[in-house]
Point group: C2
Chain length 133, copies 2
DNA sequence: CAGGAAGTTTACGTAAACGTAAAGTAAATA
DNA sequence: TATTTACTTTACGTTTACGTAAACTTCCTG
């Protein structure tokens, strides 16, 4: 294999990503500062690849879920973690289990709010009917 | 009806609530400061009733969902809102619709993360098997 | 009646997640 | 070659959601 594999090497500038995800470049650099992104450099300039882009997407998804950047960082560690030792693996599985419990709680919470909102909505609708007829 | 209806008047002190929900009294006073709670007073002392207790529960549920206190406050306004005018009602229903969209997005996000966590978990399990056999 | 225990207000401190200049570099373009 | 455009670092400012401490009142108890 003397040929370096540069196939499908898609690169992004910081403004590419800022436009794609509708966030400021400040935010993107901040995420790097917090260790969530690690773009390569060409001179001074940051070069982002596909992996960085995916990570950014995950960061924003985490934010929508109310995860702190630190929590999202821990999730990244889970993705990337060293899976060589049984000890590491069991620690990981505990963390995963905790996160899953957390998410299940959120599912419950969301469903509860959705039910309440639907109730209010239906109430509004029926009142509107009495007002317009 | 000359009898004042004081049946089922359950009261709570600030420390009652702080213990029940495992939060500090500082937080509870802070929520009041932000207009999310409005306990009555007996002298200086705050007296919370059932409604306040429910509200506090909702505040904490909102927090778990990543709602800011301001957002939770807006939800409270929806619950309590004046439903007399058709205009008000249609505005409300728009806000409800927005919130529902927001929550549906969160449901999708959570399900996505859950799927990924399950993948990692299964991966861990199978590796653990190869390590222990 | 001294001394907790539980409540209060006031106010400064803090962590997270950026916003917002300021001041400089580097490449592309008129 | 001058300048616009896109990038960079440094650094102070801001909002949210409290933590923490000080100083005070009120009530109960040994």
């Amino acid at each position: 294999m003397t040929l370096t594999n540069k196939v499908s090497q898609i690169n992004y500038s910081i403004s590419d990503l800022s436009k794609e995800f509708d966030i400021t470049t400040r935010s993107i650099r901040f995420y790097e500062d917090k260790g969530l992104l690690a773009p390569t450099r060409k001179g001074q300039t940051r070069i982002y690849n596909q992996r960085d882009q995916v990570r950014l997407k995950l960061i924003l998804r985490g934010k929508r879920l109310g995860f702190s950047l630190a929590e999202t960082g821990r999730l990244f560690e889970l993705y990337d973690a060293d899976k060589s030792s049984a000890k590491q693996l069991t620690i990981m599985m505990e963390l995963i289990s905790e996160k899953k419990d957390d998410l299940k709680q959120k599912l419950e919470d969301i469903n509860a709010v959705l039910i309440e909102l639907n109730d209010i909505e239906n109430n509004c609708k029926s009142i509107l009917k009495t007002l317009t007829t």
